[in-house]
């Protein structure tokens, strides 16, 4: 832009950043530094996994104007798909007793299965149900809520309504110990994958033709159509990709927690919605920031006052809605 930024505005921006960092460090008053670092890593890892769900949710909302409440169900289905694959591979002796290579391969296969199941479910849901209710928010919310419930129930039919223990390769359990800061190995994996996905999504959005089409579609669907692009096909593709990301997130969550339940989709959806509201609907970067905030706040507060952990996130959401009703990076409509 060729306009000089307004000095006052820049000052305010720096003040906001300073405030953000000081709030981030605020828990240090009550938590000793070592624990604080452990919690920070845990919070970032949780944030990255939340981001995987929230990214799809926010792009689907921005592009298609659909609030997909079934997004959490993709997360749960991904977790169960990964669980099933790991169980099957354990029969071959790859998981609990396998070598490092077999362990890595089985985790990759689990994530791949999640990716596939997420894509297939996304394709099905978009084509069969959501395409019938484009442009009608009320019906979309009602129907995706129903789809979410049905998908969770099918999990209970196929597996069981109870918790399941996920078998995790030995090489992914345990933790690193760096000067008393204990860091769970899989948290590192989660952070790396989350950052990679964020970088990948941003690269696609900024550099590729597809990214231009999606950003253009977020702004004005009609123009994109009249320029010769079949918007329905793009909707389906984006919906599938979003669903697949959520499913991968779920599968990683399952491996990370070593336990899965049919209700995990609903819990994840709540967090993802908070993230998307904080970050601004339609903004990938906003979701990334929001996910980090929610993950960190959840872990700090869960350490101090376990009962209020979700409440702290709702409080953050409320405060953000007060200051910036459209979220951190949201566009006013």
């Amino acid at each position: 832009m060729d306009l000089a930024p307004d000095a006052g505005q820049a000052g305010r921006r720096w003040a906001a950043r300073l405030a953000a960092v000081s709030i981030w460090l605020l828990p240090l008053l009550a938590i000793d530094p070592t624990t604080y670092l452990v919690l920070t890593v845990a919070g970032l890892a949780m944030g990255m996994l939340l981001f995987l769900t929230a990214a799809g949710l926010t792009v689907i909302f921005g592009l298609m104007d659909v609030l997909n409440l079934a997004h959490g169900a993709f997360f749960a289905w991904g977790a169960y798909a990964g669980f099933a694959v790991l169980n099957a591979l354990n029969g071959l002796g790859w998981v609990e007793t396998g070598t490092l290579g077999q362990g890595i391969l089985s985790v990759l296969l689990a994530l791949l299965a999640a990716l596939a199941i997420g894509g297939v479910l996304g394709l099905f849901l978009e084509r069969v149900i959501i395409q019938r209710v484009y442009g009608d928010h009320l019906k979309q919310i009602l129907i995706t809520m129903g789809a979410s419930m049905v998908l969770a129930e099918v999990i209970k039919v196929l597996w069981s309504p109870n918790n399941q223990t996920v078998l995790v390769p030995l090489s992914f359990t345990g933790s690193y110990d760096i000067m008393d800061v204990v860091i769970n190995k899989f948290r590192v994996v989660a952070i790396v994958v989350g950052l990679a996905v964020y970088a990948g999504v941003m690269a696609v959005m900024q550099k590729t033709k597809l990214g231009i089409i999606i950003r253009a579609g977020v702004e004005n669907r009609e123009v994109v159509q009249t320029l010769g692009y079949n918007i329905n096909r793009i909707f389906t593709g984006v919906f599938m990709a979003g669903a697949a990301l959520a499913a991968v997130g779920g599968s990683m969550w399952g491996i990370f927690r070593e336990q899965i339940t049919p209700a995990m989709g609903d819990e994840n959806l709540i967090f993802a919605l908070i993230v998307v509201i904080i970050g601004g609907m339609g903004s990938v970067t906003g979701s990334f920031l929001g996910a980090c905030m929610v993950g960190l706040a959840f872990n700090y507060v869960a350490y101090l006052v376990p009962k209020l952990a979700l409440g702290a996130n709702i409080l953050i959401m409320v405060v953000i809605l007060f200051i910036k009703p459209w979220g951190l990076m949201g566009r006013e409509q």
Binding site: L67, L69, I129, R132, V133, H137, L138, K139, I141, L142, I143, M145, G146, A147, M149, V150, E153, V154, K156, V157, D266, E267, L269, I270, L273, I274, V276, I277, P306, K307, L310, G311, N313, I314, M317, V318, L321, F322, P325, W326, Q333
Partner: protein
């Protein structure tokens, strides 16, 4: 205009008013009320009375949800939470007051109303200002938070075990007052009549609200927000008003529900299944009809009562198929599919469809296309 001559609209209203006691709808209402009053005396079956009491409570809860969803076009996922707030108000006050007295019930009712009003005002003031879709998201999060609090704040709510309590005086389960025409008069029966009276009053209140000038403005906003704004209505205020009113009624329904069961726990009065039930009832009954709530609640509650028998039937038909057994256990799955199909193909519900047909008949009689 002389001021004496009624306008055509006034004439139509006067005409309708003159017929209001002879309309078939009014007669049906009267008959329904008579059945509800006489039912327990004529047919003393606890199972039936239990079913009917629950239907009454849910009919009002669903109708109040319809005020928010059908008449204002806002989706609140916190309707079940408000129900739960009312239920827990009664349960906790009765549980912790020793000995429990009549004024405690009144206090619980007032507390339920107060808490739900404050919470509803805060939530809607925050999220309705921006976009109605935010409201759905925020209420979903807040409702989940309350559900978790219900579990985890166990020093107050006793967590998963739930709170059981005694009602005061004649409403208490062990009070007995002799027999009337061969029917045992006891605490349960009196609570039933209390529920009947309160539900009838609330329902009349909801119907009046919908027909009031405020209700008409709400419909105008739902159908065309821009036009309503241009006409000078403060859309935001009306939305907040209707949300708060609907939530308030829901919390009172929750209070009645708790009194009926003398017991609450997080899953039955705060959890997602409750919210899904309300959604299903309102969809099946018909959005924007108020009366649909009665049908929706009756359908679901009766289905729930009969489902265990259906399950047994399914199991005996397919004794070998394990998947079939699991499917039969998951009746929420069947309800969910039914719900999706009704949103897609039957969006006006039973009452809405019937009304459309009646309207079409009326127009045909008038000779209009």
């Amino acid at each position: 205009m002389t001021g004496r001559e009624p306008t055509p609209v006034q004439m139509e209203r006067l005409h309708q008013r003159s017929r209001r006691f002879t309309r078939p709808g009014f007669l049906i209402q009267l008959a329904l009320l008579a059945c509800l009053i006489a039912g327990p005396l004529v047919m003393p079956s606890f199972r039936v009375m239990d079913l009917v009491a629950k239907i009454m409570i849910f009919a009002v809860a669903v109708a109040s949800f319809d005020i928010i969803l059908g008449y204002t076009g806002i989706i609140s996922f916190a309707h079940g939470m408000f129900f739960g707030l009312g239920a827990y108000s009664v349960a906790l006050i009765c549980h912790y007051s020793q000995p429990v007295q009549y004024h405690h019930l009144l206090l619980a009712g007032v507390l339920a109303a107060l808490i739900s009003t404050v919470v509803a005002v805060v939530i809607s003031a925050l999220s309705l200002r921006v976009k109605a879709i935010f409201f759905a998201m925020v209420t979903l999060a807040v409702a989940e938070f309350c559900h978790i609090l219900g579990y985890q704040w166990s020093s107050l709510t006793k967590g998963e075990d739930g709170v059981s309590f005694k009602l005061p005086g004649v409403f208490s389960a062990d009070w007995s007052g002799g027999a009337l025409w061969g029917t045992q008069i006891n605490g349960r029966l009196l609570v039933y009549y209390l529920i009947l009276v309160v539900c009838a009053l609330l329902f009349v209140g909801l119907v009046r609200f919908v027909r009031s000038p405020v209700g008409r403005v709400l419909k105008a906003i739902r159908d065309n927000e821009q036009r309503a704004t241009a006409l000078g209505y403060r859309v935001f205020r009306y939305r907040v008003l209707s949300t708060v009113f609907g939530s308030l009624v829901s919390s009172l329904c929750g209070a009645l529900f708790a009194m009926w069961l003398s017991y609450v726990n997080p899953d039955t009065v705060l959890g997602t299944p409750l919210m899904l039930n309300i959604l299903l009832m309102v969809i099946i009954g018909g959005l924007g009809t108020v009366y649909g709530g009665i049908l929706g609640a009756a359908f679901i509650k009766i289905a729930e009562t009969w489902l265990p028998d259906l399950q047994k039937l399914a199991l005996s038909l397919f004794p070998k198929m394990e998947l079939m057994h699991r499917l039969a256990e998951r009746w929420i799955l069947l309800f969910g599919i039914l719900y999706i199909l009704s949103v897609l193909f039957f969006p006006k519900g039973v009452v809405g469809t019937l009304r459309d047909q009646a309207e079409a008949r009326r127009l045909r009689r008038l000779g209009r296309p």
